[in-house]
Point group: C2
């Protein structure tokens, strides 16, 4: 059985008092953006709680970190501040604490029904990096593009491969995605194809959000990396496979990715995820010393992707995967990212890469699920090789506790047609 | 003969009244950062000029764009504001205009000797993209790594290849660069090498700075792209060739680049560069319609790289190149970048890629100049395959006018040893 809050939380809610994920929202269309935490079907307005003097711990009592349009300032404060905030909020929301429970006007101001709140990007993202940390995904992509002999490049087992992504086009769940136009492979001696992407895909990912950063030239030790990670979100790295295939040699993905990346609004903290830690993957060959970590864990987070075609009421599950399938942990990713001296800043985003599991029904993108168009996927009465205009793609993620969930809510986006 | 200013400008100065490049500086160590333009050996403090009410044109008279710690707000205003500022400043600095010339206390406040000014990064960079737009560089790299058959991948002639770079580690000229550590290719069956990079290189580049951005989903027409570019800077894309070689398949450069990128402090505007426009490169095959531009120009900007080894008084020229060697123009780069709907924001940085000319003495990096270590480069009494600790690398760039220069000053950085 879970803990209790005086705020009603239904048993299947993603947001009981054990979770308390952070987001940024506007309670009304014209109001200022401010931080909040989700509790049941409400958003608790942290700017109101802070103004009321209820953050009374030593770190937060004099901080203006909740009077901000994003969480960057709170992230910069680091784990002691995060733990203090969590303890304060769990106490404040408990059934036995009168401060909020018995103050009707404060409750009225502080608890905003989630369906009235407009969720915004919770962080200002300086840099976004996307890793490639699922072995199953790496193997499937390699097999599709280069054949079954040595589908995974030898470097892959020695370092968490990654590329820099585009920060400007990261959007919040619910934002429509315009189908990108671009070049793709010429047929025969013709010029390259140019037009709307014909192989538009989703990528089921999660992303770590960086807390305190590091100075340029000063790497983060892998055993201290967890203190630099505030929490996780769901991420859809929309991908145009035809654009990507033509452009990516030799410098990697560019326009095939940069037209949009969607984040879920709620950042679930590592503290909330702790009960769901599980053994990290066996790594062979053994990682180099700078990647060998004493605490080597993943998290058991069930992930699901549904597609809702235009005009249909219901959606169809297209894959079920799990965060624990990652080969390189997020702490290894962060340590690797800084080993050359590269500086991370609060709010930076580290995508995991597509999270594919071992079974075909756990693959994390249509490229794999429909095997590059060779095995169209059944979607009730219709099929999909890649995404069609009007398709809405919905990710969910949830950890199942004993009588409660620690969930991520949803991360969704709908495809609009290319401009003419 | 050039125009005149009442501020003395020596004949070989990079900063006569025809140039007026923009930077951000602190007049004293403790003071606030503010925008300035270079004139001769002085920086004209634009926050002072604005406070004095001397920006009296219709766009700038009520703007606080010069009361900012970076140029982003000015960049967002677009070309009409840039033209107005240029006209105002050229008039204010002319020998016949008394407003500043005859006001000793204003002059004292507004004109800061350049050797007293601390130059800072002039822009807050949201995203940094690095192109690969010199054919000679592409050919040399392809030949070195894959041999002389088809050294350039077929996609290269159809689109300006690029990758996303790391924004957080961009630093201003004069900042030391710590030699990165990292993995590189294993020898035989050993684990990968790990340690200080043994192939540290510079890359001679320039970068365009984006003015007004575009909305997500709305590409910029190539014939309007110039209005989205404020100006150019010199850029050193420091590169660890050994780290890059091991990590870059299949997602492109990452830690081999992200440890540091150096910019020159002065942004030379496209308006100042206009007299140095020259025919753009012949492009065969003809670019696709979205890349075919009516005005297809490059700029004749002479570039030079010198290395000053530790302990030596003087520096040695290692290459002389020219911006005009680029195959893809900066306007084509910008149009391509947005064709998929990707949004650019004011202050975004578009690196050109290494600018190599056709002759061996015009190659833009040591990888090419010393042919991957096979032909060590003479540096007076010593030689270089790659950079050594203590080496200072100094870029200069200059357009030669009739009796005046429009120059970029220098872009320099010195290599410090890796941490132990
Ligand atoms: Ca991805
Ligand atoms: Ca480069
Ligand atoms: Mg994306
Ligand atoms: Mg660099
Ligand atoms: Ni010498």
């Amino acid at each position: 059985m879970g803990l209790k809050s005086f705020v009603e939380v239904l048993p299947d809610s993603h947001f009981p008092i054990e979770n308390l994920p952070y987001g940024v929202f506007k309670p009304e269309p014209g109001s200022k953006a401010r931080p909040g935490v989700a509790i049941g079907d409400y958003v608790l307005d942290l700017s109101v709680i802070a103004s009321a003097g209820l953050f009374d711990g030593p770190i937060l009592c004099n901080s203006d970190c909740f009077d901000q349009p994003n969480l960057n300032k709170f992230l910069e404060l680091g784990r002691p501040a995060w733990k203090e905030a969590r303890a304060t909020l769990q106490k404040l929301l408990s059934p036995t604490e009168p401060a909020l429970r018995d103050n009707a006007s404060l409750r009225q101001k502080a608890l905003v029904p989630v369906d009235k709140a407009q969720m915004l990007l919770p962080i200002a993202i300086g840099d976004y990096t996307d890793f490639f940390a699922s072995m199953h995904h790496a193997k499937n992509c390699g097999t599709i593009f280069r054949g079954p002999q040595n589908p995974i490049n030898p470097n892959w087992f020695h370092l968490p491969i990654a590329y820099h992504g585009r920060a400007s086009s990261i959007v919040i769940s619910g934002t429509d995605i315009v189908r990108p136009r671009g070049q793709s492979y010429p047929t025969g001696n013709s010029p390259p194809y140019f037009g709307p992407s014909q192989k538009l895909d989703f990528e089921l990912e999660m992303a770590a959000i960086v807390g305190p950063g590091n100075e340029l030239g000063k790497p983060v030790d892998v055993n201290e990396a967890a203190d630099h990670i505030f929490g996780l979100v769901l991420m859809n790295d929309w991908s145009a496979r035809d654009i990507q295939a033509w452009e990516y040699v030799p410098l990697g993905p560019f326009l095939g990715k940069s037209f949009g990346t969607t984040l879920s609004p709620w950042i679930v903290t590592l503290d909330a995820l702790e009960p769901f830690a599980c053994d990290g993957p066996k790594q062979d060959p053994h990682p180099l010393p700078y990647l060998a970590e004493k605490i080597h864990v993943n998290y058991d987070i069930s992930l699901e992707v549904r597609i809702s075609p235009t005009g249909e009421e219901h959606s169809h599950v297209v894959t079920r995967s799990n965060f624990k399938h990652l080969y390189w942990t997020v702490t290894q990713q962060l340590a690797h990212h800084t080993i050359n001296g590269c500086n991370l800043r609060p709010g930076d985003l580290l995508g995991t890469g597509t999270i594919s599991g071992p079974e075909p029904e756990s693959y994390g993108c249509l490229l794999e699920l429909a095997w590059n168009g060779q095995k169209p996927l059944s979607l009730g009465g219709t099929t999909r090789k890649f995404l069609e205009d009007g398709d809405e793609v919905i990710f969910t993620g949830c950890c199942k506790g004993n009588g409660y969930n620690v969930g991520f809510g949803t991360c969704s986006g709908k495809i609009l047609p290319s401009p003419p």
